[in-house]
Amino acid sequence: MGRAWVRPPRVRDNILKYLLVAPAVVVVAVTAIWPLIEAARLSFTVGRLNRPGSLEQYLGWENYVWAVMEEPAFWNSVWVTAAYTFLTVALTTILALALALLLAPGGRLRSGVQTLLILPFAMSPALIGVSFRFMFNPEFGLFDAFFGALIPPLANVSWLADPILAFAVCIMADVWGWIPFLTLVLIGGLISVPRETLEAAQIDGANGWRVFRDVTLPQLAPVLAVVVILKSIFSLKTFDQIFMLTNGGPGTATQTLSHYIYFNGMKYGQIGFAASVAWLMVIPMIFLTYAYAKLVFRKDQAQ
């Protein structure tokens, strides 16, 4: 035993490297790849939880055709998800960028508050959902009272009972939860913009806005792109927050695709159909992930 270890493991080196990555490969295979394949298989079956044997009963593309051609609820959740993604990505990015500019070294609000900032991000989305639900409670909600005092016509509305307002509350909760993390990422990006380029622009005669537009923003673009893509991926998958805050309601006004999949799969037991919708959702994800990977893992051509 001892001797075997002492001998220089020349050949074994080759095997060792595979042994070392094996656990990671196994974990990914079991938790990500196998479920994906199994879901793909299920999406072509009748797949009803209450009907024994239906998980092996193949239907071809029927689930997909049904979702796309016959289900207004599917399209509703597609639009909800699209609007939700667009609005949350735009709002978080813009607000996080504004905050980052204020908080970055040389910004106007530079102080010790950056650590506090991360707090909302440390909360689980489900907790954010619950707390926002309480804050918009018509009887004792803090935000409800606040907005009522600020904009009198809103004093007597029941936020989560109104389709548009409930959607707005979901957006608010999401934006609130994501701003801190993205702000920190953007502060990091701003720090890596060489200070000399900003000072050179000032001396060349640019005012604050033009320094930002002509020099800061173009150099921040790669980080900004990562932020937008990453946030898009997370917005597309939003589930827990919606589940706790509105549970997709009122009606289906805030039903995102993830929520729609959950409802069909778990509540109605239509696993096959849910799996087909899940696979439809994979399509935009693949594009986004590909773009993300390309940006993050690209060979550094700078310098």
Partner: protein
């Protein structure tokens, strides 16, 4: 074109003093070099002129205007940064054109002016490239072109040559000198390299610890240093500084050797300054003092002899064809017309 006046300028960060109550009058069209070791406050002084750093107290005047309250963009200065500060996402053309664009110069006018500036620094064929596709020397020239593309009141240059290799530095130094004659614009140039200062400057301000030690022409600071710091900082090799005393008009080393006549009052504690150039080397017995060679260096165009007596070592320059060995004995004689005496405590010059 304008003069630049600093009045009692001070910059402090808490306890750290960058610039300490300095006044300086830079004349119109003058090429003034701020020279000093790293950390002495050169960059800070320049950044206060540019408006990138706010003075703790004191005034900055450009022309006949007090500019303390003016933003950098309104001061009409151009600056070449140590790391060039080029815009990495813009082509060389756009880099050079940027100061014109933000000043709303018309398109028809921008192209000829950019091409003209690029021609002056010999960059015309690179206008379509990005900064990262250029070498250090070329980037440096882009920064220069961006500064000269308009006619600012003042040029500010912060160690513009320090990132170049030695050969290129000498080349660019000559180009800068040529360009500055052509442009005749007030220039403040920061460097820690005394050769750059000597060759480029109309006047040099030697700084140490936030304080200007001496302001004068290159001749002044080389031949008539105001204190021991300037004497030791200017010149390569550095001026020899020898501790001793004055007795009967002679300089006597700490070891009791009568080294050279200096004149002057009796003084039990002085420092004698003598440049390597002002020490004559002769055969043993023929000069004032016989010494042993500690090291012999031949640079090709001249030779340097580090010589020793007792524990004292000094460096002398020999002729190009002088050949000696370590351990040889030679005799040295100092040129009495080019000796400097300093007070060892304050470092200030003792003039007879």
């Amino acid at each position: 074109m304008a003069e630049v006046i600093l009045r009692n300028l001070t910059k402090r960060w808490g306890d750290v003093v960058g610039v300490d109550d300095q006044s300086l009058h830079i004349r119109d069209r003058e090429f003034l070099v701020l020279l000093g070791p790293s950390g002495c406050g050169k960059t800070t002084t320049m950044r206060m002129i540019a408006g990138l750093e706010e003075p703790t107290s004191g005034e900055v005047w450009i022309g006949d205007r007090m500019v303390n309250q003016d933003l950098p963009k309104d001061r009409d200065v151009a600056m070449v940064f140590q790391n060039y500060g080029l815009y990495p996402h813009m082509s060389i053309f756009d880099n050079i054109a940027y100061p014109l664009r933000v000043r709303h110069v018309t398109k028809d006018e921008i192209r000829p002016r950019v091409e003209d500036a690029a021609r002056k620094v010999e960059l015309v064929e690179f206008l379509d490239r990005r900064p990262r596709a250029l070498s250090g020397g070329q980037r440096q020239r882009v920064a220069l072109a961006r500064a000269i593309v308009r006619t600012p009141k003042v040029f500010l240059m912060d160690e513009p040559l320090s990132n170049l290799d030695a050969k290129l530095r000498v080349l660019m130094r000559a180009e800068l000198k040529h360009l500055s004659h052509e442009l005749m614009t007030t220039t403040v140039y920061v460097t820690h390299d005394q050769v750059e200062a000597m060759t480029l400057a109309d006047r040099v301000a030697v700084m140490k610890d936030g304080i200007i030690q001496q302001l004068g022409t290159p001749d002044d600071i080389y031949n008539d240093p105001a204190n021991m710091f300037v004497a030791g900082f200017i010149g390569s090799p550095a001026m020899n500084l020898i501790k001793g005393s004055i007795k009967d008009g002679d300089f006597v080393t700490a070891g009791g050797r009568r080294l050279t006549p200096t004149g002057g009052k009796e003084n039990h504690s002085v420092v004698l300054g003598v440049r390597a150039d002002d020490i004559r080397i002769s055969d043993p017995g023929e000069g004032r003092l016989d010494v042993t060679i500690y090291a012999f260096e031949n640079t090709g165009d001249s030779t340097f002899l580090t010589v020793q007596w007792g524990t004292q070592r000094i460096i002398a320059r020999g002729g190009r064809h002088l050949r000696k060995e370590q351990g040889d004995v030679v005799s040295i004689t100092m040129d009495p017309d080019h000796l400097y005496l300093f007070d060892p405590g304050s470092g200030s010059r003792i003039r007879n």
